[in-house]
Symmetry: C2
Subunit: 465 residues, 2 copies
Amino acid sequence: MASQHAEMDQVVQKLTDLLGKRCTTAEAVREQHGHDESWHFPSAPDAVCFAQSTEEVSEIVKICAYHKVPIIPFGAGTSLEGHVNAVHGGISIDLNDMNKVLRVGQEDLDCTVQPGVRRKQLNEYLRDTGLFFPIDPGADASIGGMASTRASGTNAVRYGTMRENILCMTVVLPDGRIISTGHRSKKSAAGYDLTKLYIGAEGTLGIITEITLKLYGIPEAISAATVCFPDIEGAIQAVILTIQSGIPVARIELLDEVQVDAINRYSNLELAVKPTLFLEFHGSEAYVKEQAEQVSDICSEFGAEGFEWTTQAEERTRLWQARHDAAYAAIALRNGAQIWATDVCVPISRLSDCILETKQDLEESFLIAPLVGHVGDGNFHLSFVIKKENPEELAEAERLNGRLIDRALAMDGTCTGEHGIGLGKKKYMYREHGEAVDVMATLKHALDPDNIMNPGKIIPDQAAE
Amino acid sequence: MASQHAEMDQVVQKLTDLLGKRCTTAEAVREQHGHDESWHFPSAPDAVCFAQSTEEVSEIVKICAYHKVPIIPFGAGTSLEGHVNAVHGGISIDLNDMNKVLRVGQEDLDCTVQPGVRRKQLNEYLRDTGLFFPIDPGADASIGGMASTRASGTNAVRYGTMRENILCMTVVLPDGRIISTGHRSKKSAAGYDLTKLYIGAEGTLGIITEITLKLYGIPEAISAATVCFPDIEGAIQAVILTIQSGIPVARIELLDEVQVDAINRYSNLELAVKPTLFLEFHGSEAYVKEQAEQVSDICSEFGAEGFEWTTQAEERTRLWQARHDAAYAAIALRNGAQIWATDVCVPISRLSDCILETKQDLEESFLIAPLVGHVGDGNFHLSFVIKKENPEELAEAERLNGRLIDRALAMDGTCTGEHGIGLGKKKYMYREHGEAVDVMATLKHALDPDNIMNPGKIIPDQAAE
């Protein structure tokens, strides 16, 4: 093991004294912790520690802080911008053993979980309570990872993102101190919003070890619908009018005709190969019906055909499973290919323009990239279907991605709606935020002066402190 | 003028060169800018500057930064914890001339305003668009002040607080640089959440000069209701069940019998002198009816009587005006008295206990203090009716306030749900946040090393950096 860090042997020895076999330098484990699900090339950490408590995380951090060795928190490994890659070596803290639901507050509609709890596990756990946690990024991500990347997904249009659904957290600071970022009350005006500072910080300011989440009552009725449009503009105009009308759609997803074709093949569906909206409505029986009828009327105004809706759980599950399998369907378009997933978010008034110009770009390219969007939020994804060993394809994805981001920024949008910055989008930070990046760098330096917390992520190397 | 700052004459000269008569040291103007609507004793600034643009704010800040002179932003002056008092002297920047609505995005349901825009002015401006801005703290506060104190109010239970309703802001940093904290897209995962850091920072990290707000469609139908309960516990149980049932009440306010008696007198109403809920429902005609009926049923389960609801705009306005006049009604209980307003917020499961123990305290005290609550959020207010020249009354309010806060903190709540820290609650910051206060102090010191931005607010004097 040839580490970048002179004192790594000492660090590993101390961590082994603390954790026994739960500190390992086994190559297979290190390799597994050196990458996420993105196209980014892996960088393995020097060692992996499996922590079992907040106090243990604190001890690990103190050892690493003393030796100024990087620490990278690791959850489900489902991130999409190289968030967990150990680009400066160091210690990966695997939090999957911290996977307990610590409490559920039925009256308060909240719960407290450890960071390794997966979102599906949480909803299984909650089932008998009549409550659920709505945030659904597709992957069965860990709650800690979802907090750290400010994740959202299909029903953020109704329930918000992780940003709106965390009440408070326990965080281990870069020097090993343990703080609470707040309390369980629904509101507070008591000082700086540390909770929000740590949501989306991608492990660069500390390690989240407990999360208190908002929960919601499982709706009395849920209905799902699909509807296809002659063109994307019509679909988006229908979305805008739906939201302007205050109809609280729970999900409203756009799939372009390339993506519809891909999921027809992959999931054995027979959807018309046209721009299509997948919708979901939550509420009472009567209210779900009212919403579906209102949206059906709106869609008709914009030339939609075949609005079909169902309250059958089985049919609904099949539909949403197909939506969630969009990325796998994209991969299946080409033998031996991988996905370079990217996402941007723009004000919804600019969404048509942004998508149409992007599709124009794609038509002129040799790469295929199905498009899906959480269009109620103005957020959409492209999945470049590439072979990453091929430098030409990588360069073309890079070029198209850059153009997509420039376009989104010119429309007062952001270079990522929900995937985060990680390694992949650092280079766009100044273009998006200007001097505000220096403010972020100042915060980073103030809280983590030795730059040991997931270094190389979010803050561009050239940022001034 | 005997300033605490040796170079104040030079500063005023430079500011006068920049602003002409819009920089003033007139005593009446200084006095007016030395206090808010709270009981806190005033501290006048050395001078007041009336800024008209972001660039001008930046120039003023640069002058003050060069001489290390404090700067205190001033909006409507309706804050409740001494937020604008110039406790270390310096320059008050009055932002009331920056009162333009800069743009409205009908398709995006958003708008951008200058910080001096008042909330009533904004809703007047928006009327013809069919949109509205819901946050309603009672007072006709400025949007900049509401952002800076993380304000909320009666319909936060449905629409959230300022925290959830600001997309991005323009901020002048303590060195005069101008940044955007983000963009107009509904979501972003691009770096640290600077927007949220500045919301609730009470002007201690910089000055907000533009705010982009979320807007909502004016509901097709609005209905209001009142219902009274034999006891407070029943009222709160009804609120809990209403929220658990997912009924999206737009407002759900509790008034205790002391407050009901006060508003009966002040607003000429004839409500039963019992714990009472004021409610409002937003939605379609059918949905508003459905919600009112569901809530009526729930209230009956907990012994409520006389559930009355109306969709008449006039009756509704009269009711909510009475609710908003609660503080004036409290003042009117006693000749020549003032109000010491305080608020706490707890998890709703603890709200009954918190209110009942607080009322027990009040019964044993010689002070009167009506109670109103945004109970859907677990947030309630006391208005101590005092004569602040009387040290015994001040001490008693202080004692009761301290007990209230200890109680809320013991219940995993916060010392303030919506008023903010200002001067008045600094002493409770460590009790609430522990070492997290030191993290806040680190952030403050990193961004404002000379401590010129509204010094003496939020961060306790003993905080380590």
